[in-house]
Symmetry: C2
Subunit: 118 residues, 2 copies
DNA sequence: ATTGGTTATGTCAGACTAAACATATCGGAA
DNA sequence: TTCCGATATGTTTAGTCTGACATAACCAAT
């Protein structure tokens, strides 16, 4: 119930940016793993892609969501900025609100059961 | 404010179906225009695509959302089934709930202003 | 200096998507 | 019977997105 795989909320803003579970999970992964590559491994996503998503986010928000540094003993790493933490929290809040909405259950009940193929 | 172009909510269900503003607007267009092609014209979407979306929806829900008939004086037409109306209403309700959420304003405030290019 | 894990980019083929064009069918109304 | 606007599909091309591979730069610790 913590991470409902059945539901995914994607927001599409006028600036052209889309923000959904992929980016949210990536932000969370970075926060918990301490690096972009670590988050990529956890999410089974190539570093190339993870990095591209980070760049997209950093470029579309007022300020970067992810702060990264390279080199050093551990090779470098990345952390969430305060804005990054706030954005992640906001998204999670919206997700939780959506999950509790009765209309969502109504929609689910209108779908085919899982037993249906393709 | 009725149709906020800045925001789009897309739901991704486990069955693989995605349902967002495109399909919702299409359903509404069909309800108001009385035909798939009319809705397509209004939404500036090819009939080919509009029809494909309808078929996808009809196939992924318990029962069809759109009822269509061909031939006749007006060439045919399409209307929403009760389930179709219900699904549309549920989606609009979720959309409205989301729009009122304070976290959404918070997210918006974190984005770049419109003046930014690309 | 060497090392190791990470950030940061480039490239390129293949998969997937979207758009454009083309037909065939239907059936009430004139 | 002919016509018209709509449904219902097929085909093809163009464009976009994705994934895999490759490489360079970075720098604290050893």
């Amino acid at each position: 119930m913590k991470n409902d795989p059945r539901l995914s909320l994607r927001l599409h803003f006028e600036q052209g940016l889309t923000f959904g579970r992929g980016k949210a999970d990536l932000l969370q992964g970075i926060a918990e793993e301490g690096s972009i590559s670590g988050a990529g491994r956890r999410l089974k996503m190539s570093y190339r892609r993870a990095w591209a998503l980070v760049e997209e986010m950093n470029g579309n928000f007022r300020a970067p969501l992810v702060d990264s540094s390279r080199g050093g003993a551990k090779g470098g790493g990345a952390t969430l900025t305060e804005l990054g933490q706030a954005v992640l929290a906001d998204y999670r809040a919206l997700e939780a609100m959506l999950r509790k909405a009765p209309e969502l259950d109504s929609l689910r009940a209108s779908l085919c059961d899982m037993s249906d193929k393709k």
